[in-house]
């Protein structure tokens, strides 16, 4: 038993040594900004690609990195900061050139990103911010507040500025859930005749949104509209509306392909598109520039505006991007 584990440990060590032998001397000697220039590996870490939004984000980052001649390692932290921390350790031990990260928590991610920085690996954040500056090289997010303003305005217009509505909010621990809800209410609360009769968290989940909407419709049969914090919840809410054979306005957020096709079929009325692909590409481009020049060419905090998607422009939307015409 002991001998077997010794052999295993030995074998693993040999492999580990062999793997890091090549780059050692270089990364030890150089000290400036573009240390890891020897490595051509970009590590991309996002939440679970179960949600098409993160899938699009991953795919766009990986495609852009490959286009610029990098190797990629794509990982998912499933919104677990511990798992994210381990994955950043993986990036450090693989001596990655840069990390593209959609982080697992505004506070819980800071230490891990700092660790990467200490190992001279620059991190470029996409989609979600962290509560500290100077740790990541860039934080490129879609402007959730602006987007929620767009969604709220469209929802109020569809409702005719009056009537009962319900709101489905995202996971309460996620900053974006709060930002979007505030953005919606920044608009909706200005109309005294728009009355929110129910507000429930459906944790970004489609099935949960379905069941909660059904129950909310029981309690408040006069509801005219439902505004959801993301598209998966909007889809769940719309399934409930359809099952109840009611005519209720549903508005989502994300611009996912499923919701866009629902808009085209006169189902869900509107969503707010976050340019996931564009943000990922920007992050990879800036990582590439940083690695070549040794400094960032953009300010750390950058926000990209969201776009309202409704029947007028839904046709030109593909994979989280609006075709410019």
């Amino acid at each position: 038993m002991l001998r077997r584990s010794l052999i295993a440990i030995g074998a693993a060590s040999v492999l580990a040594l062999a793997a890091c032998g090549g780059g050692d001397d270089k990364s030890d000697s150089s000290g400036g900004g573009s240390t890891a220039a020897a490595s051509k590996l970009i590590v991309i870490i996002t939440p679970s690609p179960d949600n098409v939004f993160f899938k699009a984000e991953q795919d766009a980052a990986a495609a852009q990195a490959k286009k610029l001649g990098y190797e990629t390692l794509v990982l998912s932290h499933d919104d677990d900061p511990t798992k994210q921390s381990q994955e950043i350790d993986t990036a450090i031990s693989r001596k990655a050139a840069a990390i593209i990260l959609d982080n697992a928590g505004a506070d819980a991610s800071v230490a891990a990103i700092q660790r990467a920085k200490d190992a001279k690996i620059p991190t470029f954040l996409v989609d979600r911010e962290i509560n500290k500056t100077g740790v990541a090289v860039a934080q490129i997010v879609s402007n959730n507040a602006q987007g929620a303003g767009l969604g709220g305005t469209e929802f109020a217009k569809l409702m005719g500025n009056k009537g009962e509505y319900a709101e489905l909010t995202g996971k309460a621990t996620d900053t974006n859930a709060g930002v979007r809800s505030q953005g919606y209410h920044g608009v909706l609360d200005q109309y005294p005749d728009l009355k929110m009769v129910a507000q429930q968290s459906a944790n970004w989940d489609q099935a949960e949104a379905l069941q909660k909407t059904q129950t909310i419709l029981q309690a408040h049969p006069n509801i005219k509209g439902i505004i959801a914090g993301n598209d998966t919840m909007a889809l769940g809410a719309f399934a409930a509306v359809q099952a109840a054979k009611k005519n209720i306005i549903v508005v989502g957020f994300d611009g996912s392909p499923d919701v866009v096709s629902s808009i085209l079929k006169d189902g869900i009325k509107a969503t707010v598109l976050q340019p996931a692909g564009k943000i990922s590409e920007m992050a990879v481009d800036q990582a590439d520039a940083y690695l070549k020049n040794g400094k960032a060419d953009q300010p750390e905090k950058q926000s990209v505006d969201c776009v309202l998607v409704n029947p007028d422009n839904a046709k030109s939307v593909t994979n989280f991007a609006v075709a410019t015409s």
């Binding site: 679970s48 690609p49 179960d50 098409v52 899938k55 309460a172 129910a198 507000q199 429930q200 968290s201 944790n203 989940d205 489609q206 099935a207 379905l210 069941q211 909660k212 059904q214 129950t215 909310i216 029981q218 309690a219 998966t232 889809l235 769940g236 399934a239 359809q242 099952a243 392909p257 499923d258 096709s261």
Partner: protein
């Protein structure tokens, strides 16, 4: 102080028997009856409580809706009860439900690629395939547990991850957004099981009733049912009595997997879309329903009816909390407290029961 089972009955209320652990058998029996029926008592209390707060709670349409929400968890929980009765546990049912939903959703949405083209199956066949997939995954659970002597907790925990991963692999993480089918492919009508109603009652509820009746008959009226209880009550004795314990065990995991798949199909049908995260953590609700209904996690004791009642308590409670607008956080707190409270009363019932048994002996 030898025994402290009975909640100190007033002395002399009924003929006190000297020295017995249950000093007041009549009262103890009454308490026992109350404890045995506690799931029903809790359910009635819930209904009374919520209808006092909201006039919408006790309406026909809300009762039907809540029962429909219960159906999915009840079907999962019935399957899990079979496993728990043998002294095992099945943590993989939520993932199996998700996998079955994805397999069926994929067959409806994009068909099956075979050499020479794509084949589409009718809805009935798709549903059957989904259930068979669940049963097969259950069979793997059973084989791992019996052949390799892996503890059920570990084996099914592993399957929780494996089946969820397979569900994600199936679509590469994506969603099958439209399961309506196409008349030209002859695969329309999947919404029947999850959306439609027959005689004013949702089909999902009818299915739950059928599954429950079948499960009651199997557990109480067949030799196989008696073997399940024998294995869970005392595995050693069951082996000595000539019961093929491994066969019984594999069978209960197959049943659990099939029930999970059925629940996953109902959920997928209702959503009209299949996504790989479907039914995540539902295994906990299912186990909670079984425990609430008086199924002992140590095996050998429990009823299907109890489990169904447990599912009703959980469903009526969570829907009630949503209906009156309680926040998600409080919903979790209340649900957890109710489950622990149920186990406490379960323990009280056991002590009382053994006290009475000693008393009559």
């Amino acid at each position: 102080m030898t025994d402290t089972h009975v909640a100190s009955p007033p002395k002399g209320a009924a003929a006190p028997e000297p020295g017995g652990p249950a000093r007041n058998p009549a009262l103890a029996r009454a308490a026992l009856l109350l404890l045995r029926g506690r799931t029903l008592v809790v359910l009635v209390l819930l209904v009374v409580f919520f209808s006092a707060i909201s006039s919408e709670y006790l309406t026909q349409s809300n009762l039907i809706l809540m029962t429909k929400h219960v159906a999915i968890n009840a079907i999962l929980a019935i399957g899990v009860t079979f496993v728990i009765l043998t002294g095992g546990i099945d943590l993989s049912v939520g993932s199996i439900a998700g996998l079955a939903g994805m397999v069926s959703g994929g067959l409806l949405f994009k068909g099956l690629n075979v050499p020479g083209g794509t084949v589409f199956f009718s809805v009935a066949v798709v549903i059957l395939i989904g259930i068979v997939v669940g049963a097969l995954v259950g069979a793997v659970n059973g084989l791992v547990i019996t052949r390799f002597k892996v503890a059920p907790f570990i084996a099914t925990l592993g399957m929780l991850y494996v089946a969820r991963g397979l569900a994600q692999l199936h679509s590469n993480g994506g969603t099958y957004p439209d399961l309506a089918g196409d008349p030209s492919r002859g695969n329309t009508g999947f919404h029947f099981i999850g959306v439609d109603s027959v005689l004013g009652i949702p089909v999902a509820v009818w299915i739950m009733v059928l599954v429950a009746i079948a499960a009651v008959v199997v557990t109480t009226r067949t030799p196989f049912g008696r073997r399940i209880f024998a294995v869970g009550g005392n595995e050693r004795a069951a082996i000595l009595a000539g019961i093929r314990v491994n066969r019984v065990k594999i069978a209960v995991y197959v049943i659990s997997g099939a029930c999970a798949a059925l629940a996953g199909l109902l959920l997928t049908s209702e959503l009209g879309a299949a996504y790989p995260d479907t039914a995540t953590t539902y295994e906990l609700n299912a186990i909670a329903a079984a425990v609430l209904g008086g199924t002992a996690l140590s095996g050998g004791r429990g009823t299907i009816i109890g489990t169904v009642m447990g599912a009703f308590v959980i469903g009526f409670l969570s829907d009630g909390l949503v209906l009156v607008g309680v926040s998600t956080f409080w919903q979790s707190v209340v649900k957890g407290a109710v489950i622990v409270f149920a186990v406490i009363t379960e323990q009280a019932q056991q002590r009382l029961q053994s006290g009475l048994a000693k008393h009559t002996a």
